[in-house]
């Protein structure tokens, strides 16, 4: 099981704040997860397309497409940050 969290404009576009997922065996890295989520349909496909600028964190640390995902991880997806 992994926890997925979505923030800001992404949370609104996908109409999802968080969800739990049984980690499919085919998913080892962030890139695999993005591909898997993109297959859900139009909003998801554009949000997780290769040229989208969304950022990702694994267990609350900034991560990248190559980062490994393991059972129990918390994955956050969000747009570029605009604080300060």
């Amino acid at each position: 099981m992994i926890d997925l969290l979505y923030f800001a404009s992404l949370r609104e576009t996908l109409n999802t704040e968080k969800e739990q997922l049984d980690l499919p065996l085919s998913i080892n890295r962030v890139a695999d997860l993005k591909k898997w989520l993109a297959a859900r349909g139009s909003d998801w496909a554009s949000a997780f397309s290769r040229d989208s600028n969304i950022l990702v964190s694994v267990n609350q640390k900034m991560a990248s497409d190559d980062s490994m995902i393991r059972d129990g991880d918390e994955i956050g997806f969000f747009p570029p940050v605009t604080g300060g």
Binding site: A8, S9, M62, G76, F78, P79, V81, T82, G83, G84
Partner: protein, 149 residues
């Protein structure tokens, strides 16, 4: 170190005092306060709504402050960022740096702002009289952070 993500306002004097409490080696306090200003297209901003990633935002601010402590000869730092709905002219963010000498305090304060703007998971939404929209990240801010490398 004081790190806080909070709804309520902050008191610059109190935070500075808290950092300096009991110390006799501090010769400089540099502070930066960011306010909500109306940058909306039609100058009709009602409020900014700030969202964060509970847990990660705090960790990220702490790590940015630790970075500054390593890079400059400073004694301590505070970062307080507000979230929720904030009206024009209200405080958004406070950075305080204390050190023996002013140069390190000024520089570290600027670094902390440049870094938190591009590194800490926080997002602004503009609520105007004609609708709401998320603020886009600015290339200029990204460049300012890159310049410290």
């Amino acid at each position: 170190m004081i790190i806080s993500v909070q709804k309520q306002d902050f008191d610059i004097a109190k935070v500075s005092q808290q950092l300096c409490d009991g110390r006799k080696d501090i010769g400089a306090i540099a502070t930066f306060t960011g306010l909500v200003r109306d940058l909306s297209q039609n100058r009709d901003l009602v409020a900014l709504e700030l969202e964060h990633y509970p847990g990660m935002t705090e960790k990220s601010l702490k790590s940015i402050a630790q970075d500054a402590m390593q890079r400059w000869d400073i004694e301590d730092a505070a970062i307080i960022h507000r979230v929720g709905k904030l009206k024009p002219s209200e405080n958004i963010v406070l950075v305080v740096v204390i050190s023996a000498h002013r140069k390190a305090a000024f520089e570290a304060c600027e670094f902390l702002m440049d870094y938190l703007k591009t590194r800490a998971p926080l997002w602004k939404k503009e609520i105007t009289r004609h609708g709401e929209h998320w603020v886009e990240a600015k290339l200029f801010d990204q460049q300012a952070a890159e310049d410290w490398k």
